[in-house]
Amino acid sequence: MTILDAFDRMMEHTARRIAQRSSRRGILARLGTALVGGAVLPLLPVDKTRAKLAHASEFAKTAQTTDPTKCNYWRHCASDGYLCSCCGGTVNVCPPGTYASPTSWIGTCINPDDGQAYLIAYQDCCGKDSCGMCFCLGTEGEMPSYRPELNNDIVWCFGAPSMVYHCSSQVLIGKA
């Protein structure tokens, strides 16, 4: 899988860099543990999303699939911020004059219509100061910022032409 490849490459890259910069003993040995030991596996995205399904159902109990301008819309289970759907955009269209971020953190939400879990990319729309409409705070599966790929406090505008947060999109990736 592409993503696992990418993750492996990142870890290898990190390992090489630690090796280059740190005392040869100790660090590399410790990092070796991190790479081959039990600790690394739970970090893999597929495992992670699976681990969260049980919890995601709490939000889904009262979720609806008709009005994306409400906090209980099914895709918003872990969205944090102002809904682009209230700001001149939709769940996957950025408001006029803003930039769709190519990066995001990832949540897992259950669509109550089919009971299936889906991966949602919480990509921000960027380049204007906060929209300020329809603030929603979903925290299903949300982790502290030292786990950035699962944190919703971060300005997810990396790779966009501006790092100014405007509103939060909820873009469908696919089934979890």
């Binding site: 950025c94 408001p95 006029p96 190519p102 953190w105 990832i106 990396f158 966009a160």
Partner: protein, 397 residues
């Protein structure tokens, strides 16, 4: 990685859509380093484009929010007047003024920035915005600054041909900065001789109000050089009954209505040297307790000859008190034709210029209301439109 490449392709389209000029403004797109968490760039099933608006409707309402008490963070909201849904927004600088183009392609915001938010180097600019993409198209520096005041509509306006933007300046010398918005070029300052505000009177002329109740009328050439300065006779009593700054002005018909603290209406034709018609009074017999008041307290619908004014019960020096009612006048008959009690008292109103106009009323508590002026029914109400929306604009006014 393939994933990143896909995302950047999408981004490039976005940048192209938003116009080449934007590039000069934006940070260069930074490549996503390999250390990014890999989930961050998972391919999505759905596209994630940026919306583009159609040509503005005359029934859209543009709401300028200076943002008290966070004045360095102003906004202009754009809403559909019928349901008050948000179409989009743009950010502005300190105590901004907005000007809408005649052809609906642009609006401009005259605004002030400091290099470190509220400190550092000051820069005054007129920024041009595309009305469909809501992208900034460029800016013109105002080297002599701007009048810094709680935003008033007539601090900035456009010449009759739509080419020259006038931005009032009290630094504290009194002048009008002239910007050629076709060329996006600053032309210079017109000395207003101590008079204030800007009311366009032609392609190359503009009027200001003087402390003693006169107009000063300024004519300039294509280079922005003042060629003629005329003073009118005093036409109102600026000591005992001054006119509100927020005259109801309708640019296409060159008509304006100035309203005094006590309720006198001064019809003015803004075509060359301003011509002031016979004044008449808002209040009739039995209306003695009522006064005009608020902020942007008057609006004029040209096609139906209707003047709308926010009114409240109050004594002298209650000129900033919000209106409990909007009174509607036929300016030909000089007669009130309707009284509209407002659900929430409002200092600011506006009216759309289409055939069945919407009346907008804005409260001091960030509630915007939209009324159908054919039925006088409320069509929509929206609360929490920011924290301090202040001025209303419509295209065609």
């Amino acid at each position: 990685m393939r994933v990143y490449a896909m995302r950047f392709a999408l981004l490039s389209i976005g940048a192209w859509l938003s116009g080449a000029l934007v590039e000069a403004w934006a940070q260069p797109a930074t490549p996503i380093p390999a250390q990014m968490p890999p989930q961050a760039a998972l391919p999505t099933q759905e596209d994630h484009p940026t919306a583009v608006l159609p040509e503005p409707s005359p029934r859209w309402i543009y709401v300028l929010e200076p943002v008290f008490p966070y004045l360095v963070a102003s906004k202009m909201w754009i809403l559909d007047g019928d349901d008050l849904s948000i179409k989009g927004m743009v950010n502005g600088g300190y105590l901004p003024n907005a000007v809408l183009s005649h052809d609906k392609s642009r609006f401009w915001i005259a605004e002030t920035y400091w290099s470190r938010g509220s400190r550092g180097t000051r820069t005054d600019v007129v920024t041009a915005w595309d009305t469909k993409t809501l992208d900034p198209l460029g800016e013109v520096i105002l080297p002599n600054g701007r009048f810094l005041v709680v935003p008033k509509k007539h601090n900035a306006t456009l010449s009759h041909d739509g080419r020259y933007l006038f931005s009032f300046n009290m630094d504290p010398a009194f002048s009008l900065s002239v910007v050629d918005v076709n060329e996006m070029k600053y032309l210079g300052e017109l000395d207003t001789q101590g008079c204030s505000l800007a009311f366009a009177t032609g392609t190359n002329s503009v009027a200001s109000i003087c402390p003693d109740g006169r107009f000063v009328h300024l004519t300039f050439d294509a280079s922005g050089k003042l060629t003629k300065t005329e003073l009118s006779e005093p036409w109102f009593d600026s000591q005992n009954d001054p006119v509100f700054e927020h005259a109801a002005v309708h640019r296409p018909s060159k008509r304006a209505f100035f309203i005094s603290y006590d309720g006198w209406v001064y019809p003015v034709t803004l075509d060359g040297m301003p011509k002031v018609g016979e004044r008449w009074k808002l209040q009739g017999p039995g209306d003695e307790e009522w006064r005009p008041g608020g902020w942007q307290l008057a609006a004029f619908h040209a096609a139906s000859n209707r003047l709308f004014v926010t009114m409240h019960k109050g004594g002298k020096w209650t000129h900033k008190q919000a209106g409990d009612e909007v009174w509607v006048f036929d300016v030909a008959a000089k007669k009130r034709v309707h009284r509209l009690p407002l659900d929430h008292h409002s200092p600011t109103i506006a009216v759309s210029q289409d055939e069945k106009p919407l009346l907008f009323a804005l409260t001091e508590t960030a509630i915007l209301m939209s009324y159908d002026t054919t039925t006088w029914q409320k069509k929509a109400e929206r609360s929490a439109l920011g924290i301090s929306p202040w001025l209303l604009y419509t295209f065609g006014e």
